[in-house]
Symmetry: C2
Subunit: 195 residues, 2 copies
């Protein structure tokens, strides 16, 4: 057989990129097909419809990507420093295009949560996972932190600020605002420590 799994993976990856750049709705199948050099028949052989393709992208591309990004940042000895380094690295290492495209999770949350229940649930699940990941690891070092901290609340605040900053940079089309907000976010995080 021609390598079916390879074809599927190829479609998935390119779809992930297109959806990241243009959003789910604005991504047309024809644009994916063109980039994949694959026929519509092939796509519909692997996925029953566009929605399911979107779900597959979320589960097989985005989800592992998030975990691969956030876990090492936060499961380190000092999650406070880990988080700050993670965010700072994001400013310095990411290309301008990447930053302007925003966080796929936030993008999909904004675009699809209100329209499609399948996407909403997947986004929500990812957000809760992410939140727990951060909250638990902060709690782990709670001895170093201020005594009055609500870990879940702080974790949500961190993610919200991060998403807000990536949203901001979409209108300015450059990293400047992004790194500005990230700088303040790092200040906030560092400030969680006992003084």
């Amino acid at each position: 057989m021609r390598d079916a799994e390879q074809t599927r993976q190829n479609i998935l990856e390119i779809s992930g990129d297109e959806i990241h750049k243009h959003g789910f709705t604005a991504t047309s199948l024809s644009s994916i097909l063109k980039r994949c050099k694959v026929s519509k028949g092939a796509l519909y052989h692997h996925f029953p419809n566009k929605m399911e393709l979107g779900y597959a992208v979320f589960e097989e591309i985005y989800t592992p990507m998030f975990l691969a990004m956030w876990q090492p940042a936060v499961e380190v000895d000092d999650p406070i420093e880990g988080l700050c380094q993670f965010f700072s690295l994001m400013c310095t290492e990411s290309s301008c295009d990447e930053i302007v495209s925003g966080c796929p999770l936030n993008n999909l949350c904004q675009e699809m949560s209100g329209i499609d229940e399948g996407f909403r649930l997947r986004v929500l699940n990812m957000q809760q996972q992410l939140n727990q990941l951060i909250a638990l690891n902060l709690q782990r070092v709670s001895a170093q932190l201020r005594p009055d901290i609500d870990f879940s609340q702080v974790a949500y605040f961190i993610v919200a600020s991060f998403h807000g900053s990536s949203s901001l940079s979409k209108s300015s089309q450059n990293k400047e605002l992004f790194s500005k907000v990230i700088k303040e976010l790092c200040l906030y995080i560092t400030n969680l420590r006992r003084n």
Copy 2:
């Protein structure tokens, strides 16, 4: 003449609501027409195309709305308290639907900044106005605040966090997460004070 200005205003307001709820691209002219009980000819008599209608909504509906909301919150004697009260009021007073629909500015920023330069520039302008509004009013009471504050940076951070929180609540479909993040945001803002 039939009241042309009234017709125009009606189209503008309903368009503003539809765009707020469904986004610009997903809002179809036919849905606006149906709600307005106005013909397509009438709409195209007042606006040259959909894009220009969108711009008009931004300038004549959203912009005044933002200023009317943020100015009183921040031009008060104590902007720290004003901001906190403003955010808290938003949690308690807004309907669940309103919160889940998100902030029109943030929505448009996310959806349109990358697609259309006209929208991008308008969004950017509004964000800068908002930022200056907050930054200047914080600076005004800088005597009460911590000495090391970068006002513009803090102002952007506040707006980013606010937008991030309204984004979060889209996936949960209720106020809970929103008010959680807002609570932490208020903590952060209060913490700007000299201890």
